[in-house]
Symmetry: C2
Subunit: 217 residues, 2 copies
Amino acid sequence: MNPKGEIGARVRVSVTVAGLSLEEYVEKVKAFHGYAAPGMILGGFMVDVALKHLPENTLYDAICETPKCLPDAIQLLTPCTLGNGWLHIVNLGKFALSLYEKRRGEGVRVFVSPSKLEGFPVLWNWFMKKGPKEERDLGRLVEAICEVGPSVICHQRVQVQEKFLKGRRHRGFAICPRCKESYPADDGPVCLGCQGQAPYEEPLGSNPKRHYGIEED
Amino acid sequence: MNPKGEIGARVRVSVTVAGLSLEEYVEKVKAFHGYAAPGMILGGFMVDVALKHLPENTLYDAICETPKCLPDAIQLLTPCTLGNGWLHIVNLGKFALSLYEKRRGEGVRVFVSPSKLEGFPVLWNWFMKKGPKEERDLGRLVEAICEVGPSVICHQRVQVQEKFLKGRRHRGFAICPRCKESYPADDGPVCLGCQGQAPYEEPLGSNPKRHYGIEED
């Protein structure tokens, strides 16, 4: 068992991930993501495949179809981050991503073909989430991913919908009359938080400033 | 004008951001986010305030109430990233974040008090998105943020809703009979992409494998 997903000595394939050696990429993954998760290794290969199929010097944005693992591979290997607005999450629960020209939307989508995993039970069980997570040997999984490499990754041309293209409208901001914080004015007369979408329990009433016990310093 | 938000020589305050000097933090911001965006500087101070109000040795997750800038400050300064599942985005369009104990949900929420920005027109106009973005002097803005520092940031205790706490159910996966990719089985008989939620144009029919022109190599 190798629960932390260390890259073992058995991996002897020479692979690069978006211009980095596998070892350099794994170091970045550990520093950012916490550990060398199998999804981060597979994700690195997927970003690599997408980049190779994008015309050179393309100014691109990214769409990731899952919030799990894959967004971090995109954030580490491309200029696209969630916070800078170049990475969009559309949660379809699918381990797939697209890189696309940010004004016109022409791009490439990469995904894993489950049929290509059928000959690799370790990979299949992990990818299809079969069996208890605790019993997985992450080190062996990572080695298996490195061995199959890009051979299980497919790509297809896509045209991204207009709402994901650059040039979106700048939203006006207002002060919410209830919580006194700023919010996008077109969300309504009060902010989405005061409309009941805040992710916090509200045990003491409807005015968050009172019942959360606001403190300033 | 200093459109790239360089930290000018005028900033002479000694500030630290989650244990880093401001200069170290700005270097990290440039490498990850692309440039020293004002929202990243303010966001750094906000994460710093949140960390200071969390009991020592707390194992925490993060909620960010906007996808803009702030998630990157969290990802750079804490172990929480989108991909490792410790950062949750609840898009309320509000520049606010919470750090909370990941099993019990007790946490601290930090936000900017607009009323405290009223004496600083440069900050007010930026925070409330007044006037054209192109005319903003990012360098001056960053300096103004460094000068006011944490004084415009408020915090409050929160109890995060149960659905954001650790121990969520592992979803079963299946092969979508339409696109042949894997997807969370409880999304329905076909994946959310094939249910019409894919972010791509579908000009040629309903089978994405055919009209996207799938290529493998």
